[in-house]
Symmetry: C2
Subunit: 455 residues, 2 copies
């Protein structure tokens, strides 16, 4: 039988997370700044927002951190996730390329997000918290938080970007089924939300606004732990189970990727897949090209610059050194809600700076077209976010055909699209536009980047 | 690490389907009757509706049939499906029972249906058909047909029961994404549909009506193959990969079920899981209790009788000897659309007749309550159909607690509920009723059972 699926047994679930900070060339990652003092956050200050083990994972430079047994136990429900060879897609494209994809849609909520939701819930529970609060874009992270909270018997409150709350009512219902409370953001529940609504009652929301609301709610209730779905170093760290498994699965396939492709919003899915490959390369292993695919509607890596900026619109949280479009950026309402982030993980920015990751921005119509093509050949329906990786993987495979070069392509299929069929409906109805961010929008947003003395 | 998941490698995907007709005690299964002559259908007559290998699988008594290589290749994308031990549910129920579940939601369309969609598409393609036509209730079978057709480059036309078409727009969109055409039934496209609409323009539809429409469309176009999602012998046969895998997974768990539980509409999911266990028992293996769980809204096994009746309301197809409520039965619009069938697979009826399967009917409110409980402990959100099995598994586990008996329970989790969150929404809003079929409805439907001389 032709080999299509490369499976590992649950005993082969990684035992450690991998920290790329140990292997990155150049200066160490710059520390986040306290928004009140403008000085690097101390561990004591960080202790107000996260439990000790997460602070260590956020700031430490050890190469690996051990995965606690109860977390591995929960991972093992669907991990190791499958890696597939896309034989039928290759055939349809008539390409000499070998295309593989690592599929995270087998998680109970259908995306890679529980990989970090579970450890964050675990550490907060151990620190005595009885509930979790967070923000969510398309709802993948919110569902993962709701699931993770329910695993540990905790409450969960989720501020969901309003445009996604309306577009994806099933995501909201899923969170509620796990017992969470889901609030459309901007909301009248917080001072930040009230201020935004006073300015624009029809504001579709953004991840930055929802983050501020979650931070405000967190600050008001000491029983809650604040958890976050992307960008932070420890979040990217937790996702590295993906790439570590993929390295072993590539061994099973007796192959190795020339190109690794992932969609990028906050960067956790891309980092999860690519950092273990980059780490291997940095330690003397095979060279690999890594491509970060972002939506043209929110071109953080391709049009933003590396600055100190807030992750949240309300400027309640720390400043991070990262690619940012400005914390005032409100991206157009594209279907890939999970990629609508004005800033990206500092470790991704460092990797881009060191030319370890190439960013590219694509329009959503071509992504949905690629998603349909993928579904009709490989059977799995990709989430709109994941179609960004599919699009560029197909483009790379077509380039291989033109050049007659049989490169090996590995991309991250970060989630299934069973909650996102409104996007496919809109695509077939011809109602989808590419909705790129205009120069004027970008200039207005860039003006919100604070002036900070270099640290 | 505590063992939670029992996985087999793709090389362990079964090589043969198992035919319980070879092992059933009592008289051989009664043949279907030609609706025009009232006499048993000949193989020549069957050849009008299905390709030769499917006729053999429908009528033959060989114990096993080999699974063709291209079918196994496609199965291997998600098979063998995982079997889990429900440790967290057991703990929440404080039961001495050991609860296992076999999870079919990992298939690309989220349910067990592609197990038969793929071989039916394969055999029809080999017989020269270029398209498939079928009916669907909740859309699980329609999605599987759309997927299977796209795997083999065929067109697909799906008549979908109107109430589900409206309740589950994402199922419709999924079929369209795979390239299928989806028609709400009753429709003006067929004579059967037009007659029903003339009588009742607001008719919510039923599987019987949709079947008639699909059969009519099939009769008018020789390029189409008619495929069906449940009840028929060959469909039940294809699903036996589920139970065969579960037997091997139970060996890995070093355990064996005392009770096997499955939801039952047409019977294919129940048969798929239970027939291999029943076969082992009939050949001298360990005793196993099998429970068929049907909705109180459509109590085919618990309130129907074994008769010759049509599977389709329009009386275009053959008559089958099966439990039936009468082909005129239109069940209330419960959320478990996939269980709204007035008749059930003849092999299931034979097994009930031989007291190998115990039927039980349950209301949907208790099922959804069980689904929420399951999601909050095990993480996976069950489809409304699957919650019927969850409900009875929980009841059995609670009985074990009362009796202090540590029985082993295995149930079929036939699909995920990511398309069905409207049902959970309605449950939380308190808008769900149990909608049992009334005596009057049942009497009116029973009057539509034809009088047929015993064969």
């Amino acid at each position: 039988m032709r080999r299509t699926k490369f499976s590992l047994s649950e005993d082969e679930t990684p035992t450690h997370w991998y920290n790329i900070a140990a292997d990155l060339p150049g200066p160490p990652p710059a520390p986040p700044l306290n928004p009140r003092t403008g000085k690097p956050l101390t561990r004591d200050e960080m202790a107000h927002t996260m439990p000790e083990p997460l602070i260590e994972q956020e700031t430490g430079t050890a190469r690996t951190y051990e995965i606690p047994e109860p977390v591995r136990q929960l991972y093992a429900q669907w991990r190791p996730s499958p890696m597939y060879r896309a034989h039928r897609l290759e055939q349809a494209l008539d390409t000499p390329a070998r295309i593989y994809y690592k599929y995270e849609g087998v998680a109970p909520t259908g995306s890679h997000k529980p990989n970090t939701g579970i450890p964050q819930a675990y550490y907060n529970k151990r620190a005595g918290k009885t509930g979790l609060v967070t923000e969510t874009g398309a709802g993948q992270w919110g569902s993962a938080t709701a699931l993770s909270a329910s695993y540990f018997g905790m409450s969960a409150k989720i501020f969901m970007v309003k445009v996604s709350y309306r577009q994806k009512p099933y995501r909201r219902a899923l969170m509620e089924t796990y017992g969470a409370v889901c609030v459309p953001s901007p909301s009248p529940e917080t001072a930040v939300g009230r201020a935004v609504l006073a300015d624009d009652p029809d504001c579709p929301g953004s991840l930055g606004i929802a983050t501020s609301e979650a931070l405000e709610a967190f600050a008001q209730d000491p029983s809650l732990g604040y958890v976050l779905g992307s960008a932070a170093n420890h979040v990217l760290l937790h996702q590295t189970v993906i790439g570590q498994e993929a390295i072993r699965q590539m061994e099973l396939a007796d192959d190795y990727p020339d190109v690794v492709i992932g969609c990028a919003g906050g960067g956790s899915n891309l980092a999860g897949l690519s950092f273990p490959f980059l780490g291997a390369m940095l330690r003397g292993g095979r060279a690999v090209r890594v491509i970060a695919v972002e939506p043209a509607a929110c071109p953080t890596l391709t049009k933003g610059s590396i600055v100190y900026d807030y992750a949240d619109t309300g400027r309640l949280g720390p400043l991070f050194r990262m690619h940012s479009l400005g914390h005032g950026f409100v991206p157009p309402a594209v279907h890939a809600g999970g990629l609508r982030a004005h800033g990206i993980g500092p470790l991704i920015s460092r990797a881009v700076e060191e030319q370890l990751i190439e960013p590219v921005a694509v329009g959503q119509v071509g992504c949905l077209e690629a998603g349909v093509r993928f579904a009709r050949t490989e059977g799995i329906l990709p989430a709109p976010e994941s179609t960004h990786a599919v699009r560029v993987a197909i483009d790379e495979a077509l380039r291989c055909r033109e050049e007659g070069t049989p490169r090996t392509i590995l991309f991250g299929l970060s989630g299934h699209g069973h909650f996102d069929l409104a996007a496919y409906d809109a695509y077939f109805a011809g109602e989808l536009a590419d909705a790129a961010a205009s120069d004027e929008m970008l200039a207005r947003a860039a003006a919100t980047i604070p002036e900070v003395a270099p640290v």
